[in-house]
Subunit: 154 residues, 6 copies
């Protein structure tokens, strides 16, 4: 974890990075249920899940989302802060034992509506893939970012 | 946790529900860092955070999002599944010791593009409020929902 | 989780409710050992357990008890508080991967010894069943409950 | 943790042991909520709890029970197994930061109803005390125990 | 857990104690990654690990070290405090499902350099063995220990 | 987390890196007790600790060691593996709320005894400092490292 200043101007459309893999374990699901209070049988009841179309327990959407975003948190950039996410889609279920990797690509840069000279939004498309190279989740992460030679965001 | 069938047709625009409160603890943040691998000093370094504008550690965005969505997971509806989220915005930071409550309101119903006779999307606006009645996070939760007398979604 | 006032007078003998299932995982056992400090080899040593009559690790009694009672915590009743449990019996071991469900039945109502006009005890028989429909644990949960039109318990 | 054979005949009425102390932390409560699924505001909502008679969050009954029983799990006795508990009473609430200690005293020995020559029950009164020397919880732990020179319990 | 005073003079070279076993679970590894922030694929990525010489995920060195030292923490000795460890060696990997046991032997006693009349170091060789009786980790634990009839260490 | 090949030849004596900070929380201690089974009152009993010279609970040595080593796990180097640690010393206690940072410096390079043409040991001195710039722990981390143009270590 390093601290590296990157300004709005420094981000290039098409920049892409990817992570090493991480296996989603039964532990992750049990801990996430415990953190969120979501004990739905889809995640917690192996006997019932075996009778359903998916045939087994599936990870919470918020678990995969949280881990995926966490896997993209590498360098600290004091010039940017997480503003929100757009268009999160759960495309395929993630099962216990699946291994996910994440790619993140800068797909868009937009100006701040009220202070375009000072701030902009960097849009990063986050794509989560399983070990079968199937996309399981996508989202767009928006970073509110300082333009160079301006007052910092925070 | 009860299982109750609700079809697309059963949801009414303006329907609203709200939760009891939950205090966000240091434990929640430490556990979430451990689950996601995001140990950024914004969340984990009290000494550094004290020198920043916010003055203290702040909760991960994905933590508040995950807990808030979990708090809305009350009854099981076999006719609906979580499809994704739109427009997640982190409006204010959540600090250790803050207590959040969540309201969820049906704000829109849209048809499935390819099979409008069979499926629709129920849009639920999730609003997270702290103990000062400030909104800290909003998102729209999309549920892919069966229309009555059709083949189930899953 | 809803808040619903129910007074002593509202409970009917024979009222029965049951839960969805929950699979007891290795994670649950490891977390419970860590919470309680009970690292007995019956729960934590797979190699030794394989040489014993049960042939595998078994869940802590307090784990199953805690989860089962937790599974019955659905609605909040401001007119009642948990007073204690009677006659907890560990009838069969619970193994990693077993799925339990819980039923709770009102079996008795008794008056408070000193203030019978004000309080009573609602006795709820909690029965925990595994996926083979074998009873693994029973206990009676006692709730100290306000009688209608009296000063609240707390 | 040692393994020491103790038969029914070896236990003496009045035998007493006590533990070192353990502070009940906010972490314990958050972890216990996560393990059991009981997120009642009594345990999890500091803002609401401040408006209640107790004035602060209180530990789950099953948390104190589980930790207290765990604290008595010292030596392994292959001649005894946990059979159940009688008369669990939650006498006073336990708050975050309270420190509990546990005493356990052999108070009764009874024969097994069907095989009195082979088995008996050792009754151990478990008393949990806080740092103000107030009793917060009592229960009687029943151990099914082999009589000497008989076939083992398990 | 008992409190027993043992002075430097009371330890004998060659004294040896050993523990019951403990199975290292996937949960232990996931929790340890979460505690330490070490999410290296050697521990967390089952798909990648399957392509490596070891063929599967391996436990963190610090996990086995921490558990092993913890397993030797039995009686409390107010006359000694943990001073450090020497020569920790990770001899073989520990895999998910392996069961370890620990032996600890007093191998050396040395005087404190500046106050030899008051303090000494008790050296305990900690050896961790798996279920195949292979040594997986060794270390020497140094305890700074009061000599009898002297001012206490702390 | 990036994967970067660095051979024995690439390490320079005096190379130094340092980490961002991390606050040691009560949660970390409770989780570590749960992971290791070490519930000594020094870590877990606030009431007793208040009567001791340190005046408060202190972190487990293995907790600080594990977190510190984890904080140095940044890039993945396929040419090196963790071989062990030398001379771990617990210099000052770490209290709840202390914030630690870690520096790691290459202090020595030695050849492998039997295959000096193929392997060497890189010695990294790990120093853990608290928010008062006091050193709390030191250790030397040994990495068995491939020399360039040789068969890999693993």
């Amino acid at each position: 974890m390093q601290t590296i200043d990157r300004w709005f101007d420094d981000y290039e459309l098409g920049e892409k990075r990817s992570t090493v893999g991480r296996t989603i374990t039964e532990t992750d699901i049990v801990v996430h249920a415990g953190q969120t209070g979501d004990f739905f049988p889809h995640h917690m009841d192996a006997a019932w899940a075996a009778t359903q179309p998916f045939g087994q327990r599936i990870a919470h959407g918020t678990l995969i989302l949280s881990i995926a975003v966490g896997m993209t948190a590498s360098d600290i950039n004091p010039q940017a802060m997480s503003y929100g996410y757009d268009r999160i889609r759960f495309i395929k279920p993630v099962f216990i034992g699946d291994t996910i990797t994440v790619t993140a690509e800068i797909t868009e840069k937009t100006d701040h509506a009220k202070r375009p000279e000072q701030y902009g939004y960097v849009h990063e498309l986050v794509t989560v893939t399983n070990q079968h190279e199937e996309t399981v989740l996508v989202l767009t992460h928006l970073y509110l970012t300082n333009k160079r030679d301006t007052t910092p965001v925070h």
